[in-house]
């Protein structure tokens, strides 16, 4: 007697064993929520500082140097860059993970996004240093 095909239900059920090695997605989700809230606050500050404070609506070079001469401003803008990059790349990761890649591909995506994120923040720090050391 020929072998019956396994019903579709078996296929679905076997992919739902909880994984032990992965960090619980709870933390990723909480991180997204926390960075999101921070971005909301910081982007509002960023918008006001850059588009409402200056009369022309956009800071020219001299305005930018003056703006970044304040260490509190620098700290806030760096923090802004860190959280917005984190939130954005974590969000991108969520969208990509909907594509149903293998677990191995998914860990590669995570690693690449980490590298991209660190590179972005490093770039931002470098740019800030260049501007603030301009004479």
């Amino acid at each position: 007697m020929e072998e019956r095909q396994r019903p579709a239900g078996d296929r679905i059920a076997t992919t739902w064993t909880p994984s032990q090695e992965e960090a619980k997605p709870t933390w990723g989700w909480m991180l997204q929520a926390v960075t999101g809230m921070l971005v909301l606050v910081l982007v509002t500050l960023h918008m006001i500082a850059n588009h409402f404070v200056v009369k022309s609506g956009l800071r020219d070079f001299a305005d930018v140097v003056a703006y970044l001469s304040n260490p509190v401003v620098v700290a806030l803008e760096v923090l802004f860059l860190v959280v917005v990059t984190w939130h954005g790349l974590l969000g991108l990761r969520a969208v990509l993970f909907d594509f149903g890649f293998s677990r191995r591909t998914e860990s590669w995506i995570t690693r690449i996004l980490w590298v991209v994120g660190v590179a972005i923040v490093a770039y931002g720090l470098w740019l800030t240093w260049v501007i603030t050391s301009y004479h």
């Binding site: 095909q5 929520a33 609506g57 070079f61 930018v64 969000g91 991108l92 740019l127 501007i131 301009y134």
Partner: protein
């Protein structure tokens, strides 16, 4: 008897292409039949990806600051042109939609205020519309 067996195995393996009519990895983006919450989700994703794209462009443009005043100030004059400014309004719309809906997703996603989530969404979008008007007025003033 063997005919029946053959038929059964065909039923159990229906044509995957036909059976998944609107699927595929962008199935989430299918707008047909979507209600308010479904649209909130789709737009949240689209604005998120759009803002991320903008972030990359913004960071690249900022490198002009490293080239000194003439390079940056040249860019500033372009940035204050009407075409540019109208793109800014689109950006702000996206930011408001994503950020304010994000508040709802955060609250609801932790199991808070779930019963009133639709009303909260509408209220937040109203706040967003007002903020957008303020931003648009400022942009018009500047341009």
């Amino acid at each position: 008897m063997s005919d029946q067996t053959a038929d059964r195995s065909r039923v159990e393996r229906p044509d995957e292409g036909a059976s998944r009519r609107r699927r595929g990895v962008i199935g989430w983006a299918d707008p047909r039949g979507r209600r308010l919450g479904g649209w909130a989700f789709i737009l949240n994703r689209l604005t998120g990806l759009g803002i991320l794209l903008y972030l990359f462009m913004h960071l690249v443009v900022l490198s002009l600051l490293a080239r000194g005043p003439s390079a940056w100030d040249g860019f500033v004059s372009i940035a204050l042109s009407p075409v540019f400014l109208s793109f800014d309004i689109v950006l702000i719309f996206g930011l408001l939609l994503h950020g304010l809906n994000g508040i709802r997703v955060t609250l609801v996603g932790f199991g808070l205020v779930v019963d009133r989530q639709k009303a909260i969404f509408v209220a937040l979008m109203v706040v967003g519309a007002l903020a957008l008007i303020v931003a648009a007025l400022r942009i018009i003033e500047v341009g």
